[in-house]
Symmetry: C2
Subunit: 453 residues, 2 copies
Amino acid sequence: MADTARHDHTSRQLRMLSQALDSGRLGPVRRLVNTLSPAEIGHLLESLPPGKREVVWGLVDAEDDGEVLLHVGDEVREALIADMDPDELVAAVGDLDIDDLADLVEDLPDQVIDEVLKSMDRENRERLEQVLSYPEDSAGRLMNPDVVTVRADVSVDVVLRYLRLRGELPEHTDHLYVVSRRHQYLGRVSLAALLTHEPGMPINELIDDEQPAIPVEMSADQVANQFSDRDWLSAPVVDGNNILLGRITIDDVVDIIRDQADHQTLASAGLDEEEDLFSPVPRAARRRALWLGINLATAFLASWVIGLFQATLEQVVALAVLMPIVASMGGIAGTQTLTLMVRGLALGQVGFGNMRALLTKEMLVGALNGLVWAVVVGSLAALWFSDLRIGLVIAAAMSINLMVAALAGVAIPLLLRRLAIDPALAGGVVLTTVTDVIGFLAFLGLGTALLLS
Amino acid sequence: MADTARHDHTSRQLRMLSQALDSGRLGPVRRLVNTLSPAEIGHLLESLPPGKREVVWGLVDAEDDGEVLLHVGDEVREALIADMDPDELVAAVGDLDIDDLADLVEDLPDQVIDEVLKSMDRENRERLEQVLSYPEDSAGRLMNPDVVTVRADVSVDVVLRYLRLRGELPEHTDHLYVVSRRHQYLGRVSLAALLTHEPGMPINELIDDEQPAIPVEMSADQVANQFSDRDWLSAPVVDGNNILLGRITIDDVVDIIRDQADHQTLASAGLDEEEDLFSPVPRAARRRALWLGINLATAFLASWVIGLFQATLEQVVALAVLMPIVASMGGIAGTQTLTLMVRGLALGQVGFGNMRALLTKEMLVGALNGLVWAVVVGSLAALWFSDLRIGLVIAAAMSINLMVAALAGVAIPLLLRRLAIDPALAGGVVLTTVTDVIGFLAFLGLGTALLLS
């Protein structure tokens, strides 16, 4: 539901394109591709299998090449760059904004970087070096140093004359920043305020000094949260001495938010958000093998627990038939609690302040559902194997496992975070290990005690 | 990683607040709460257990009440509204923008709606009715009818005089819209252009007519995709006759993007994104019971498959010990493919145009990993039970199940979408049912054939 519309639209384009490519008619493909925005071309390239991908990449207008490279995942970007010769690359990235160029620079061949640096004027070269000096995923890397500043002691008409002289403003400029002589950030003036006030009005009466500046070292995730919690369209970036360094705009923040979401979804399956949909098979297989290996270890642990009860299983084969039910219900219930917790942690809504209340609630939910499903599963199992004791065993094991699942669902993400391990990545594996082990242990243990006596 | 910073910051606040609340000192709580933005207060209220939540809600500045209600999930909103008397509610929502009021109106008691409508002037009442006439999750519901329009045949100085006379512009205005006499949308003029051009410049030379208008019936998800693919900050909304109806701004779009992400994460665990972290226990239990019930049915199906092989299990108990490994590895591998597919579908990157190439790639990855892990698991099992034939059986079953998992991971989301079922919600359940059933069937079937002869 969440995405049917886009799907329908894009999948139609994809099919048309695919047919045109198959038939070898490149004219219509070129026309179709160049009606798209760079982000859309990026999406399209990501969705094409190698072979077709290179053909379409060759048809993209040269002037869009740089922007398109910004809008694809790391793996696809590498492949596209490998497909271009140095001159093309220099031309493609030469016109990018400083912050965008900084994004790409590490993926470029040295020779291309040298050429690009040589073609820049000194001011821009210094700006690029400054942006690159900040860690990846920090505000410093997100900011564009190209900002329009004014002084507080002039009037609106002075600013208007200056702007008319200056001509075009940097893209997505909604405010001018007011700075001191030492370039310290004092506040901002909206373009709207400049337009709606009389020419004689002094700037210092129009200053909005409520907008806090972002420290250059703030993490990209925190920047994104501030933007979305406070409905900002842009924000100034300053260093430790409150010197204005640049500005971050909402369009870059939207990309971060999308990446965060991608990470949450993909990490739970042990996948990397930069992975190419059409990675070469050996590379994709190798990467996924790691995740399968971890899960194999946990599966063997569960098998080892079952192995402890071989004597029981030989005598009561019904336990072998029913045991996956107890483990799987525990896994499902625990995953529900875990998912709520991981989201709560990501939103900063879960912490030591409300942990006990949450645990109580989740345990009660687990107990209630444990009881309900224990009765249902117990009755069904007793009927199936015509043995009331089997029903009692599975009912008791189920109740225990659902309570454990609730406890594990709350505790595991908190523990993982303590250990600085990403709960979105590792939470599911650890949780299902617990619910499998406890599920088999409780069920087969109770079975041994009750049925073999 | 993705969220540590926010977590640390907010969880500190949460703890401070919790302590202050426990000690009953409400002064510091009030001061702390009212330094937050409405969205942050919303997050905070969502994170508080009932009891504390009502206390903090009572401390929020009355003027922020309306905005806070906009920033909480449906369930929490209901609870907060139930906590206010009608006069408070009328005061809280009376000052909201039309699009925001439309968001809330269905949750308000009739008496309050009447009061609010009575207090509005005729123009705003008509605008509200118009916005409400569009379906939820459409562009019509997202738009704010409050836009500033100009004619094409005037010059910059006429517009400047008009704006100075008008005073303040609606929040987040970055463009004025140019309309015909019949109010048809012709294009837009950026505030930046008005500021950087000479007063004598005619508006029709500044018009940007490249920005397409959004049809009022476009789905909210599609609107969000357009904004993020094309780096828009705002966009005009028109009806079928190209009459300008309003404008959508990026801050509302950011909320949609966050909701989409939430949906993807929570749906896979059968959870609703509007659910309150502190739902009353019976309500939370009832809702989750449905999901557990569905999974119970699939677990019984898997048990039934195992039950077909009771005779085998009685004779070779090692099969009972090892069988969960085959099923669980299939589930893990299949979930990886499924997760990539669901994301690809959401981004419009997967469709009938590239389905075959994707299927081939995923099947090859499955085959390669099937082979590798078959050897590993086969050797380990053969050693454990000192029986080469058991090793062979599990190796063969594992290879089969990983191939089936790849096929199912590609096919299930495409089929579900064909049936208009949300793959993010149902994909996981259907997939693990397939990998469980095929895993047990292949392993126990091969075991029966090879070991009982």
